[in-house]
């Protein structure tokens, strides 16, 4: 970066929460033990749940198809372990809703060989075939959103994708999943990028990495295969840099229009772990069976980055790593946008990028909520230049329509920066989440009538 670089390669505002990444970013990815019983909910991605194709009592091999995609916006599910389908019943999910799920009991002494499917040949496959392959592999966004990747990669007619953005930002505090993936699975990533370039028709790929992962950036830069149109871009450390829109603005200076998608500015963004997974699975035609999860937080004894089979019950995971006596809250995802777990009987799903355990003393105290003093900290923090202070007051007085019409409520992507900085401890994000859902509901009723 030279002095002549006038446009700072970052977005506006944002916050700097303490990173806490040093505890796990040096720990290599380790295989996690197979749980004796894993539970696979069918709704672990955005879109229609997968449709079960096995029956109770059936024996399955690791990698075998358990459920097929329930529609276009859906993905299939593969067996993460070899074992017997014990039961098909409703299981709890993180959102609190129940979902149909498969209880899979592992064969006691299986070697857990993976079954291969039809490989997708990078050289001969068409873009359509690659997308189909990605869907068949059950790949969803592994950064946390769990949105089916093939849907995102499909460039709508009339639009063009010129840049493929590989998201290796990982701005959430504590999490080091992507960091380790970049350090250990560089080859897979570059293979994945080739598939993705072909699928999207993009001219070049840029890997965006935050400055706190210089080692990963250096490694990837050195390993770029010759002739591949890939560059590595290091951006300043700032939350929520990892949000698609913020990343695009930081790296390319383009702004995704309100209510639009990255493809509206000719960009497709794919998470780096997802890319690695594509690069690893597609040549063998396999489906996802496991993923890298950072297990960390002050309440965890054996912190680390683990390769955990999908469906491993959270209780089993925590038992294995050991948890502090004073455990208070467990989050799936990072502490900024992750969800607090109410029930340990849920499982690790495809979207689980990290598990953070806080003890009593780490949890934000249920501090007294003061009235908004209009200090403007939230205004300085909001990455999309909303006025959370005003929105918060309007939400308190239930002026939802005004929030949406005048103050761009619907553009809020709930990054939590405003709540993080608020000195009055107003649960702004919670207000906005609620307000957004009310506005959405009212809009649908309005359309209906």
């Amino acid at each position: 970066m030279g002095l002549l670089n006038f446009r700072k390669s970052t977005f506006k505002h944002g916050v700097h929460p303490p990173e806490h990444k040093e505890e796990t970013n040096g720990l290599p990815i380790r295989q996690f033990p197979f749980a004796p019983l894993i539970i696979l909910p069918m709704a672990q991605h955005i879109g229609a749940p997968s449709q079960i194709v096995v029956r109770e009592g059936q024996e399955v091999v690791r990698g075998q198809l358990l459920a097929k995609a329930g529609g276009y916006v859906s993905v299939p599910l593969h067996a993460p372990i070899s074992g017997t389908v014990r039961k098909i019943a409703n299981v709890p999910t993180i959102s609190g809703k129940m979902s149909l799920g498969i209880f899979l009991e592992a064969f006691p002494a299986s070697s857990q060989e993976v079954m291969d499917g039809t490989p997708i040949d990078l050289e001969t496959a068409t873009a359509e075939e690659i997308l189909k392959g990605i869907q068949d592999a059950g790949i969803v966004g592994l950064g946390g959103a769990a949105f089916p990747t093939h849907v995102k990669l499909k460039v709508p007619e009339g639009k063009k994708c010129d840049v493929l953005m590989i998201n290796g930002i990982e701005c959430e505090p504590y999490l080091t999943t992507d960091h380790r993936v970049m350090l250990e699975q560089a080859e897979d990533i570059f293979v994945g990028i080739r598939y993705l370039l072909k699928a999207t028709g993009a001219e070049r790929a840029i890997i965006g990495i935050e400055a706190n992962k210089q080692d990963a950036a250096g490694l990837l830069e050195s390993k770029i295969p010759e002739g591949d149109p890939v560059t590595v871009k290091v951006v300043p450390v700032k939350y929520p840099q990892g949000s698609e829109k913020m990343l695009i603005t930081s790296v390319l200076g383009r702004e995704v229009p309100s209510g639009g998608l990255p493809i509206d500015v000719n960009v497709v963004v794919v998470n780096v772990a997802t890319t690695a997974e594509i690069g690893r699975l597609l040549p063998h035609g396999r489906g996802i069976q496991e993923r890298v999860v950072t297990i960390t937080g002050p309440g965890v004894k054996k912190k680390g980055n683990y390769l955990i089979p999908i469906g491993t019950p959270l209780r089993y995971v925590l038992d294995q790593v050991g948890v502090d006596e004073q455990v208070s809250e467990v989050y799936m995802g990072g502490p900024m946008m992750g969800v607090a777990v109410s029930n340990l009987d849920i499982s690790i799903v495809k979207g689980t990028s990290g598990i953070v355990v806080f003890t009593d003393k780490d949890v934000k105290k249920t501090e007294k909520v003061y009235p908004c003093i209009k200090c403007g900290a939230c205004v300085d923090a909001c990455p999309i230049s909303l006025n959370p202070s005003k929105l918060g007051i309007l939400a308190k007085f239930e002026a939802y329509e005004r929030m949406a019409e005048e103050f761009n409520l619907m553009d809020c992507f709930e990054c939590g920066s405003c709540s993080y900085v608020c000195p009055s401890h107003i649960p702004l994000v919670q207000y906005f989440r609620l307000s957004k859902s009310i506005v959405r509901k009212r809009n649908t009723t309005k359309q209906a009538t």
Binding site: P371, I393, L394, K396, F397, A399
Partner: protein, 193 residues
């Protein structure tokens, strides 16, 4: 003796002796339409417009009444002229600019009983202002009225979203804010002397 400068007349009418905050003129519309920014601006504009026209009329009438030595008819002729001016203005705007009429329509009849208009006519006569001075005075008074109305509207819009105690809500709150504004405007005293 020392004539008042036009600049001073303007400052005096708009800031120092603001019609609403110092003379209490036009309090009814001030209380009534200061709830929303949009209506406040439009009302301010309408009042200023009518003020200018009726101020010119009042100047003419006064001159006429003095000429025929019938100043005792001053009040009655002012009020009649203002009422008819408002009517005429209403009709004129309706014909010339229906859009403007839709915007100002409901405010125009209200203006008839706005004491600021009559007050302006009476004050300019009492002060013995000439034609240009009257015009500037009307402009200043209108600007001051609009300023007070707009300031109040901004504050009241903000206070729609505040935990105002139930007893204070409504006219009492508006009056209390008006009092504080009136105090703040005292800072302008002596300006331009």
């Amino acid at each position: 003796m020392k004539e008042e400068s036009l600049w001073y007349i303007f400052i005096n009418a708009s800031l120092i002796n603001n019609f609403v905050l110092a003379y209490f003129l036009g309090i009814c519309p001030f209380l009534g339409v200061s709830g929303k920014m949009e209506t406040a601006t439009k009302m301010g504009g309408a009042v200023t417009f009518v003020m200018i026209i009726s101020s010119m009329c009042a100047y003419g009438i006064h001159a006429l009444l003095v000429a025929i030595n019938a100043t005792f008819l001053q009040l009655i002729s002012f009020i009649v002229v203002i009422a008819s001016t408002v009517q005429l203005v209403e009709m004129f705007i309706k014909k010339m600019s229906p859009a403007l009429f839709r915007a100002l329509g409901i405010f125009l009849p209200l203006i008839t009983t706005n004491c600021a208009i009559l007050g302006l006519a009476l004050f300019q006569t009492n002060k013995g202002y000439g034609f240009v001075e009257s015009l500037v005075y009307a402009l200043g008074a209108g600007a001051g009225f609009t300023l007070a109305l707009v300031l109040m509207a901004g504050l009241r819009e903000q206070l729609n979203f505040a935990d105002v105690p139930g007893v204070v809500k409504g006219t009492a709150l508006t009056l209390l804010i008006a009092g504080i504004l009136s105090l703040s405007f005292m800072g302008f005293a002596g300006l331009g002397s």
